[in-house]
């Protein structure tokens, strides 16, 4: 794989990976802004509008038709959480030029459309058209509220909101219904200006094009002005001093149990490697303690997995249970947390966990989205490490380092989302 990165201007970065493995290519543009409850809804609604139409293709249908003509070009805009940053992202998923008919330069035209969506949104009288804003508000509210249809995801959001109250980490990147409904076309223009003129911007590309061609497309259609690259550091979560127990009800068949834990901050490459190994042994794989004991041995649930947050010192464990088994499952999970603290894992467990992580790291180039995710991490994080460096760190982790980290894992929340008791 051939990866090149470039600073196109102050606060504007490009990372591209040339690979001939794929018949399509993906380019992403990510604007990084602080994750804040006051602004998340605005950015979220903005992405809906930017993917609906452009100044050149003012109707949804004309925009869809041109995308189909460009070999079903995927042009998506969405918001995404990354630790305590909000990434406002636009991306194109396009057929590789060499598979287009008649030697068409599809990437160039697709980037032009992406640039049009970013720099030339469909405005009327200088603001986003009211009818479009109202349509997209209704769509976004539907999207936000439909989270209740995914109980484990809803429970995870509630656990984050409860345990990390008053921290940016608790903010839902997709926005909140009331705040969405209060937005108008003029306010959205301010959010648009903030990404186009102020927020640091990170462009990634993965596909068959060489770096010069990618640069040509970017310079022609994604010519961002310099801006300050200033991103906030994540707030270190402090344990509240007790174990919070919260139960909420919803009409549902199965109970979702989420356990929240505070940990020591994984703020260096080495510490992140230790956290990764800990998680793999504890609950991150089908060979983990949670899967083998809570699911396979105890037969308490279909899934039981751990989720360490990216660049935030918290871990959550989620499982789906039969109603009435919450205490038994909580005890079973906490037992595994304690067993990690006392080093109840074999050298084979440690070696296998490392091998599994190294396999996953080496496999990142199998998928365009993984490559783009890796490229973004390389330009957005000042302390980014390469895959090779990550593998070196993982290989060097000792048993004592995992045990030491395990001893910082402290339970803080037991959250239960379940049906009403009969």
């Amino acid at each position: 794989m051939n990866i090149k990165t470039s600073k196109l201007g102050e606060g504007v970065y490009l990372a591209a990976c040339k690979t001939e493995k794929f018949k399509s290519a993906v380019m992403t543009v990510s604007f990084a802004v602080p994750l804040d409850v006051e602004t998340a809804s605005g950015y979220s609604l903005l992405t809906n509008l930017l993917s609906l139409s452009t100044g050149s293709y003012k109707t949804m249908q004309s925009f869809s038709v041109i995308k189909d003509e460009l070999y079903a070009l995927g042009l998506d805009a969405y918001v995404q959480r990354s630790g305590e940053l909000l990434l406002v992202r636009l991306e194109i998923n396009t057929i590789a030029d060499s598979f287009a008919f008649d030697g068409e330069r599809v990437l160039f035209r697709a980037t032009q459309l992406l640039g049009d969506a970013i720099f030339n949104p469909h405005l009327e009288n200088g603001i986003f058209p009211e009818r479009n804003v109202e349509t997209e508000k209704a769509c976004l509210v539907e999207e936000i509220e439909s989270l209740i249809e995914n109980k484990p995801a809803f429970a995870m959001l509630r656990a984050r909101q409860i345990m990390c109250k008053n921290e940016p980490f608790a903010v839902d990147a997709g926005g909140e219904t009331e705040r969405v409904l209060a937005l108008d076309g003029e306010q959205l223009l301010k959010f648009h200006r903030s990404i186009v003129e102020i927020a640091p911007v990170f462009i990634t590309y993965a596909g068959e094009a060489d770096f010069e061609y990618v640069q040509e497309c970017v310079k022609a259609h994604l010519n961002f002005t310099p801006r300050e690259n200033k991103l906030p550091s994540p707030v270190i979560h402090k344990h509240c001093g007790e174990i919070l127990r919260v139960s909420e009800e919803m009409e549902m068949e199965q109970t979702v149990l989420i356990l929240g834990f505070a940990t020591e901050p994984a703020d260096t490459a080495k510490k992140r490697a230790i956290l990764t190994v800990y998680d793999e042994i504890f609950g991150g794989s089908p060979a983990s303690k949670l899967f083998m004991n809570v699911r396979e041995k105890e037969g308490l649930c279909y899934y039981c997995s751990s989720y360490p947050a990216a660049r935030k010192n918290v871990i959550f464990v989620s499982c789906g249970l039969e109603q009435g088994f919450e205490d038994k499952a909580t005890d079973a999970i906490l037992k595994e947390v304690e067993s990690m603290k006392s080093g109840c894992f074999s050298d084979d467990d440690l070696t296998n966990a490392k091998n599994s992580i190294i396999r996953a790291l080496k496999s990142f180039e199998a998928d365009l989205n993984s490559i783009n995710g890796y490229l973004l991490s390389q330009i957005i994080n000042a302390d980014a490490t390469s895959v090779e460096e990550k593998i070196k760190h993982i290989t060097a982790i000792t048993r004592d380092e995992v045990i030491s980290f395990a001893n910082s894992v402290t339970p803080e929340l037991v959250y239960v989302l379940g049906g009403a008791n009969e």
Partner: protein, 424 residues
């Protein structure tokens, strides 16, 4: 010495090697240089195989048997879990059951042959005890209730129940809490012995591997067995629907709807049948796709949103158009969708629209080769068909405007059912 045949598509820069062993076991190898190896074993036995004929006798299996068997396949003779064996060799394994088949797969970067050995060993023998079956039943019960908490899964399931009288798809692949109670150690042994015969199994590998070594490994684990796959029995299914409307209530943002229009089923293993299904998919995409008048006009008026979907599904002895989405005005949407289908029978699309749709379909089709994992699973599952991904692309190139129109004209709107999950 085994002789693999080479199947190549130079335009796509893709090729694979294919071999059918004497016992009928099919092996496909995609020689791609990549940091990861992928392998999938697929058994042509899925959720739809609940009634079958063997030696002139009819046998039945409780719904969910194929899925239950999948859950138990990674259990070793000593009661240990094969996941730990894969883990030891750096392999990442999983399995999945659909209505059509069951697939077991792994990915790894090193120790390919050791991981392949674990996979072949797992699928070539089974070990159950009453106790382990009972324990697994509890885990599967949790999986079933998890799906019951997903309204979109329920609304789709209810549409199947409304469309079909007795086709096995009216019950979930995982079965129900009631049907899994009837699955015993004996049921699983019978299903395994009858369906996991070499001629009903296929292996697909993606990576640079020694073909002979792979063929020998398969032969070692699956010695010659003359058993043939039993024939699945499907009861006669009328084209009319079982129930026109099914309404339930649940915690949803707004009403979820799923409209089904029953179509005459076709065989699923011939290229001709694939061609007809492709024609129908293109017709539906022209009518309801993101660039269609229907979608754009009704999105702008607020009736539709991003959750709207329209497509065509074909499985063994079942076929239907599906139109789904969310919105409290589902009755109006249903009426408009059916009216649009009727209207398009008389005012069809232009050749330009047809060519654009084909271009889009071509781009979407070739992305199947982008994921080694997906391509591996697709080839393993497709080994029992009489065509492959290359044939599909050829058909896409050849398919005509008139075929698309004929597909749309064949839709009988009277065979329509709607399933709804209302808020509350």
């Amino acid at each position: 010495m085994n002789s693999f045949i080479t199947v190549e598509n130079k335009e796509l820069k893709e090729k694979y090697y294919f071999l059918t062993l004497e016992n009928g076991f099919k092996i496909t190898v995609v020689p791609k240089a990549s940091p990861s190896f992928h392998a999938a074993i697929c058994c042509n036995f899925g959720g739809a195989d609940t009634e079958y004929k063997k030696d002139g006798k009819i046998f039945t299996l409780p719904a969910g048997t194929a899925h239950f068997l999948e859950h138990k396949m990674f259990e070793n003779e000593d009661g240990s879990d094969s996941f730990l064996d894969f883990d030891k060799f750096g392999g990442n394994a999983n399995a999945a059951t659909s209505f059509e088949n069951t697939c077991y797969y792994f990915s790894c970067t090193d120790n390919f042959y050791e991981n392949l050995d674990v996979l072949l060993k797992s699928v070539s023998s089974v070990h159950f005890s009453d106790e382990s079956v009972d324990k697994e039943r509890k885990i599967i019960a949790r999986e079933i209730t998890m799906y019951e908490d997903i309204p979109i899964s329920t609304v789709t399931r209810n549409m199947y129940k409304s469309l079909y009288f007795s086709h096995p798809t009216v019950l979930p692949v995982s079965g129900t809490l009631e049907t899994i109670e009837d699955i015993t150690k004996e049921t699983l042994f019978r299903a395994y012995n009858d369906f996991y015969v070499p001629s009903n199994l296929s292996l697909c590998i993606c990576g640079i591997v020694d073909l002979e070594r792979v063929a020998n490994a398969v032969t070692r684990y699956f010695p010659d067995r003359s058993a043939k796959r039993p024939e699945t029995v499907f009861r006669p299914e009328p084209l009319t629907v079982a129930k026109e409307q099914n309404i339930e209530h649940s915690a949803v943002a707004s009403a979820l709807y799923c409209i089904g229009i029953k179509c005459p089923p076709d065989s699923t293993d011939t290229l001709e049948a694939y061609r007809k299904a492709l024609a129908m998919r293109i017709a539906i995409s022209l009518t309801f796709g993101r660039a269609s008048d229907f979608y754009c006009n009704n999105y702008e008026s607020g009736l539709l949103n991003e959750r709207f979907y329209a497509g065509y599904t074909q499985s063994r002895h079942a076929a239907h158009v599906v139109i789904s989405g969310s919105g409290n005005e589902y009755e109006k949407i249903t009426e408009l969708a059916l009216t649009e289908l009727e209207y398009r029978k008389s005012v069809f699309f232009t050749p330009e629209q047809f060519l654009r749709e084909k271009k889009a379909a071509y781009a979407e089709s070739i992305t199947v080769f982008d994921s080694d994992e997906d391509f591996t699973s697709s080839l393993a599952a497709g080994a029992h068909l009489n065509y492959d991904e290359f044939d599909c692309l050829k058909v896409l190139r050849e398919i005509t405007f008139d075929e698309i129109k004929a597909a749309l004209d064949s839709i009988d709107l009277t065979n329509c059912a709607i399933s709804v999950i209302k808020k509350g």
